[in-house]
Amino acid sequence: MKILVCVKQVVDTSKMEVDPNTGRLNRNGANSILNPCDKNALEAALQLKQQTGGTVTVITMGPPQAGAVLLESVSMGADDVYLITDRAFGGADTLATSYTLAAAIRKLGNDFDLIFCGQESIDSNTAQVGPEVAAMLGIADVSAAVGFQWQDGKAIVTRQVGEGCEVLELHLPAVVTAAPALNTPRYPSVQGILRKYETEIHQLTAVDLDVEPERIGLKGSPTQVRGIRPVVPPKKENLKIEDQAPAEAAAALAEALAKVNVI
């Protein structure tokens, strides 16, 4: 089985916060990391390979330093890795990103049985790249899979809808985007870490791909971020009850809420 995984390098947003006084976004030295649920995508691919044999190829589109997430993928067990990188790809929104990824997939032979993506990135978390890639390749997809099984030559995928779940048989080739609940990603193995030093990151640039210049990068991106504003925690006129014994505080709150008919 030929399996592909798309991964993205992201900023670790859990470290960031907005300073309520200045309204500035404080990065707090947030690192660039492999997008968390892309690890779930890679884990699903590696498990499938263990079951059926074959290869796991990992691609990312990004600047040269994004190669780091490819090497991390190798240390987890990926067979070969491709960095899709070119200044012309810069500023891409999800449509231009998906267009470029789809072009790279065609370049790699377009013969993958399954393509795994993360459900969403933690920095802009649109969850759009997976389904967009599928539609560009004219194949099926299931978003936000919480279960994936390979049974009797069939892909059985579970997706959560509301609080319930749907179990689907998925026609291949197809894209599956991995929710965090899909599996528990493995840690890099010693072997993998050693292999990381010997692995060549293959590069693909715009001239290597069959792309129309007006469909890539900023130019090929319909959505434009016109501006960003920090979300400053809202400050309201409020009733503060401080320095009171619990019973008195409770009585004061109950009285205040009764006034506005909450109780």
Binding site: L95, I122, G130, V231, I241, A250
Partner: protein, 334 residues
């Protein structure tokens, strides 16, 4: 670029178990507001099996025209099939803008449509407006872990598209006497067009008081230190006719099911009243809360939630909760 032949604000209806989901009404309400500014008609598309009778529901919430696409093959959401039918209709109709619900289905369908039609999609929009000068729709969404709000436009491409999370906007009053036209669109799907075969639906355990519909939510976090104390939240919720919600750590402890989790990886809620007992107010939690009145009780007067709350009580919950329940009972008995 000339976009003068792109007209209409479209809403893609979401149907489950034969009923139009509440979020579709919320989107139609927003579409009407946008349409008042842009002068567009509001049009809705409903896909499914046996959904024609539901067209009037969409008109009641504000649609002027409803396109109905009926087929047994559309009974369940399938990305390939829905993209094929809806994509063909949208390419022909050329909407100016399209609103999808940011539900598991809508979040899959909107990007598939974007690839087919070649347009952008703004994900998980929480604010909508029209730029006075250009007439462009401004789609605003939180990003970077909820720390920033991005204002997004699509000046060079049509349609302009966004997905909107349920409970973000108010449900307008339905007007059953409203008039609109219903257009049946022929569906040409065959089995071969489907990407998936539905094998099984595993129903959710029936929730008694789903928090997304609750007017009063009694939510708690790590400031509550035992399951016995936690039971008091249920007692209070029962007294007030509300539902119990929780921060993520509480659900991880198993004191509440995941269905009670509020926040980025849980539910978005929009109650009238939100009690936050022992919740610090992390962005990942608060981004899921849009309450008219927020009440926070915390022993740390500097906890972030205390800044956001309308009523902020500094107290230790161990003593405060039983005292507060007693006070509520006293008032209710009067």
């Amino acid at each position: 670029m000339d976009f003068s032949d792109y007209k209409g604000i479209y809403v893609i209806a979401e149907v489950r178990d034969g009923k139009v989901e509440k979020v579709t009404g919320e989107l139609l309400g927003q579409a009407r507001k946008l349409a008042e500014k842009t002068g567009d008609p509001v049009e809705a598309v409903i896909l499914g099996s046996g959904v024609k009778e539901r067209a009037q529901d969409l008109i009641a919430y504000g649609a002027d025209v409803v396109y109905v696409m009926e087929s047994p093959l559309l009974a369940h959401y399938d990305g390939m099939a829905y993209e094929k039918e809806l994509g063909a209709l949208l390419k022909e109709k050329k909407p100016s803008a399209i609103l999808f619900a940011a539900t598991p289905y809508g979040r899959d369908l909107a990007p598939r449509i974007a690839s087919a039609v070649v347009c952008g999609v703004t994900a998980d929009v929480t604010e909508l407006s029209v730029d006075e000068k250009t007439g462009l729709i401004v789609w605003s969404r939180p990003a970077m872990g909820g720390n920033i709000m991005a204002d997004i436009i699509s000046p060079q491409y049509r349609p302009q598209v966004g997905t909107v999370r349920p409970s973000t906007f108010d449900l307008p009053e339905a007007d059953a006497s409203r008039k609109g036209s219903v257009v049946e669109v022929p569906v040409t799907l065959t089995e071969k067009d489907l990407g998936t075969i539905l094998k099984e639906i595993i129903p959710a355990p029936k929730e008694e008081n789903p928090i997304e519909e609750a007017q009063i939510i009694v939510a708690g976090g790590r400031g509550i230190h035992s399951e016995e104390e936690w039971a008091q939240l249920h007692e209070l919720a029962d007294l007030l006719g509300g539902s119990v919600g929780a921060s993520r750590p509480i659900c991880e402890l198993g004191w509440e099911p995941h269905s009670a989790q509020i926040g980025q990886t849980g539910k978005s809620v929009a109650p009238h009243i939100y009690f936050a007992f022992g919740i610090s107010g992390a962005m990942q939690h608060i981004c899921g809360v849009k309450a008219d009145i927020m009440i926070a009780v915390n022993r740390d007067k500097n906890a972030p939630i205390m800044e956001m709350a309308d009523y902020a009580v500094t107290a230790d919950l161990k003593d405060f909760l039983p005292a507060f329940i007693a006070e509520v009972k006293k008032i209710q008995e009067k």
